[in-house]
Symmetry: D2
Subunit: 362 residues, 4 copies
């Protein structure tokens, strides 16, 4: 792996990396999770969560959060967000979020469609919401012409690869609760956030006062399955009906529960995420000096955002695919996974350097 990309000779573009930097959902299932699926495949079990695997996963979640929590497993992340938010909302109420929030821009309007609610999506440079932005949305409370803000939804880590500190989350929660609002956290990548912060899940989510969390599994080595964690258990009062009506009640639920147990057991979830974070750090280091690559900010979790010369997007993506995050800025996103290797990072960096240096993919 060359240290100085600027000296790489054109024409020597290496083979693409074995693993993709397109998204952490391009990765497969972690071997221990796969093993857990095999092991759960033991004869018959009652459906819809009346099985021992579901009970065990519930217990592991309570250990993790160091308190009683209600858990609703769902098939996917959009579904988990819908179920969690629906438990908090009536249709004339609204959700405050950022304009880059997954619920606002990446779920094809599922929130508006299913909840019937407006999302008030506020501008944010770095994907993070600030307490004062919440204050600015409260003037219409009580006015029948306006939707009534009821939930603030933040994403941790954010869609832009940034991180709220536990202190920042606590301030947001205090702002919400002070105004009679609730705090929802979309944690599709909560593992990467907790791993990066080096704290416990309880410190980041319970002590801060978060009310409901989408606790992601699929992007961290699971095959499918997400979890809605009600840190205020009474908010789950109607969750069973909401989940079924949202078409998110898995019949063979043991297979989701078993995967979560595998992740939580021995902190595999944090090791997976920590590794992905470290690979993103490595990637950032390796591309930092490639002429033509401009890092958008230092990676805080498992993604790297960078701008590339416009001409280079097509050949690089054709060589090893990833997403252009913002077409107008030529901003791209690279994501590392639990199974990304230093060799993958090296191959990816080298190839980018070569193509930018005028090389052509092999």
């Amino acid at each position: 792996m060359p240290d100085d990309f600027s000296e790489t000779a054109p024409g020597a573009v290496p083979s693409p990396p074995e693993r993709l930097f397109a998204s952490d959902n391009a990765s497969g299932v972690h071997p221990q999770v796969m093993e857990a699926l095999q092991s759960a495949n033991a004869g018959h079990a009652l459906a819809y969560g009346q099985d021992p695997w579901t009970r065990q996963a519930q217990e592991l979640f309570e250990d993790l959060f160091e308190q009683r929590v209600e858990i609703a497993f769902t098939f996917g992340g959009t579904g988990a967000n819908l179920v969690g938010l629906q438990c908090l909302l009536r249709p004339w109420q609204a959700v405050i979020c950022t304009e880059s929030a997954h619920i606002a821009v990446d779920e094809c309007g599922a929130a508006e469609r299913f909840l019937g609610c407006k999302l008030i999506d506020l501008p944010s440079e770095d994907g993070k919401l600030m307490p004062e932005q919440i204050h600015g949305q409260l003037h219409g409370l009580g006015d029948e012409h306006h939707v009534q803000p009821r939930v603030v939804s933040i994403t941790q880590s954010t869609e832009l690869g940034t991180l709220y500190s536990a202190e920042e989350i606590g301030e947001l929660a205090d702002t919400c609760h002070g105004a009679g609002l609730l705090l929802h956290l979309d944690g599709a990548r909560i593992a990467n956030a907790v791993a990066a912060a080096g704290c416990t899940a309880a410190t980041m989510l319970v002590e801060t006062g978060v009310d409901v969390v989408t606790f992601g599994g699929t992007k961290n080595g699971m095959m499918f399955g997400e979890s809605v964690v009600f840190l205020q258990p009474e908010l789950a009062e109607h969750a069973r009906f909401v989940r079924k009506q949202a078409a998110q009640l898995p019949s063979k639920m043991r297979y989701i529960a078993a995967q979560f147990s595998a992740l939580l057991d021995g902190n595999l979830w944090l090791r997976n995420a920590g590794h992905a974070n470290a690979m993103a750090e490595l990637l950032a280091q390796q591309v930092a000096d490639i002429p033509g690559v401009e890092l958008h900010r230092s990676p805080q979790v498992n993604s790297v955002f960078a701008t590339l010369p416009a001409w280079s997007l097509e050949p690089i993506i054709a060589w090893s695919p990833f997403y252009v995050w913002d077409q107008e800025q030529d901003l791209v996103r690279w994501v590392c996974s639990y199974d990304t290797t230093p060799k993958d990072v090296g191959a990816f960096s080298s190839g980018i350097a070569q193509i930018l240096a005028g090389g052509h993919p092999t």
Copy 2:
């Protein structure tokens, strides 16, 4: 396994069967499906269906239906029904179905919630809809005060374990198309139906004129995943958006596709279903002469409906769980799975006979 239950001595209730008769979703994952999952777990693949497994499954479905079809994989059966129906409906339109239809009574109102449409659920003794029932619902066409029937949705095999013949489906399709309606088929147990009919999928679904099918996987040996099959491919025009908005777009789609490929390959889907059907037949034979058991009708697929003495429901269910289908009639439903064994059937029959004869569960 005793042949004559009436002579079984009280007090000798055997151990419950190893596998349950509660539902076919109590079964686990078929070994070949599990193998396919393992085999699909090979490194990285682009998400959302841009992977070779999804392409292969699409091809196998086209082989099965002997024509071009559009396929939309979904997480679950309620989701598959929502996606298929939404592609056919505007909110002021209506779905005609039976009053025992899964979409009408077992999905917690998901259809009304997501589609915004009325379900016109018509009485049916045996779970089957008759063409003349459709005619009776057309008088309001064009009247702005009434919802406009647009889709007829039937279930094959039905929730009551009955079967439409291909001829009957063809008549329903003709009735629909003649009136400008479309025919949707909820095939959560389509495999059991095709296996029982002894025809091909194309004969039952394409030649008859069905427009859209929910093609079930979970109840037939899969871990999760269903498929919406658009037999009129142009009806899938908006399916991608509908599926995402319905929170039914699996990110790691290869794992659903691979399972379907395993089922379709070598007709495993029909062998699984045929076996379950045969076990239901065996169960019906074995319980037929037990004093106190009254078979509701001969099983046509993999379920047996019977009435039991009211007092016996609790002890029998406590011994080996299943669902009371109609509390007022003491009608119960027993379902066989791809992995139900004759030994399970024998143990279950024996136990019921013993308990009814005054025995007590061990």
Copy 3:
């Protein structure tokens, strides 16, 4: 006006009645209501109900019900039903009603669309719901697969022109409350019901335990406007937001309030309705002996249902229009209004008799 229609000579079909028997919404605005509109048209007033007319109407409603009530004026009857029901429901809940309920068959699916809820519409010969029908719908309470019955909605007087006694309403309310349900009453023709029962509004609606009422105005001499009356005022907690979101918040609300005040003042609402009821009684008497006319039942309020020879429907309707209620039974509905005169009744009866006797409309 001939007493013996059977002797009327063919060929002498009279001019149609000046006023129609098509519906009570074919009538115009009562002169006193029109006067109230004129009188409310006095300069400027703040919109959305912050005006003295709205306050006055609220007080008159409280006088009528002899207790504190919350009132939400709406534009129309479908809107009033939506607003009232939405205040009582979460989307996974359900409304129990009859299969002839206006909300179920005459509102183009507005309830399913706006509420997202299922309507469980039960068979009823005479348009009335019986307490035991409610009991039969409670078995799924607590089961996440089933919608959760939360509201029973009855219509008084019913769509079929029948009447619940106060005692029957009280029994329904008791049944509802005993099961944790609420009782909603669609009173588009509540005036006709109260007038027919000869009791007070409080006796029929408050003492019986009804929770929320759609109190109709348009069919009883108003130009537009209905009222949602929350007899349990705390159920109106979110009514302002619900009404606005349902597009039912009238900006110049004083014009609805003033009309209601005119109706309530001096019991004009009951005199109007009582007159319409009496005209229906007269009509029933006059058509009873016409050969070919078969009365469906004696009128209890302001409508008459009768069957006619199939061949006669077209010419009679062409002569003086009305609705065929049930095409298959040749059942028609005739409705009297606050301004129907005995002369109108006579002309209508005569014409029908003539046409049935072989005459031809002039």
Copy 4:
């Protein structure tokens, strides 16, 4: 009426103006409209638009737009927007509008609730949308993760009292149509816009290429009622069902139609609006030099936006009520009506001047 408010002596605050500057919906019904209501109150007429008044109004609208149009009368403005937009949209599609659009901020989320669609609300200083803002929203077309922009909705005149020129509307329509989108125009105050532009309705709305218009009546001298005008008549294909399901089908429709006929007859609609515009111009002139009043921009239609000293808001509003448009900027909105008189303007200006000069309301 003093010309120089700065010299007005404290303590002499005059009586408030007879008519309010709170909103144009604080005004009553124009005498000619009231007369039309009286005149339509002539006996019976079939409901739901099968009456001669509705036919006549339809014809007058066709005269106005100089082509065939489809008209759907609705009760109110929010309802008209819902009906018009619903005819253009599927739920995974989106509406592009400004962040001050009435549909986005003043309808309590009715659009999201009823349409199930996302509103993409873009920043705009002056309430107007620019063609390049539309271009910026098209990158997600075809991507299943994103809602699909389908309609651009503009308000004319805007919520901020500004005006699009016909040329600007034409450019927006071209941009829309070039991208496969449709152009909806919320014309709650379309009369003020056409009057201000001095062109015809056809020039502003037909020649420019607008597809569907909410044509307002209530704010321009009507009692209630708005109209959805489908300038591309085929877009109205499902309008009847949409309107009924949206609870916006007036039964006694003649009373809305007759009001519109009164407005259109002899261009009363333009005279009303032109007068209101002129009064706003006069008001702007009179307050321009009052110390403490800062005009936000010159009025283009019938509203004046100004900032006032924060301390003065409460006493001035208590003296003669109006709305604070932006609490943080102390920005207020004053609206003139068809019946606002120069004397009202003078009294209002004087009072404001007096209070700002330290006077106290009488």
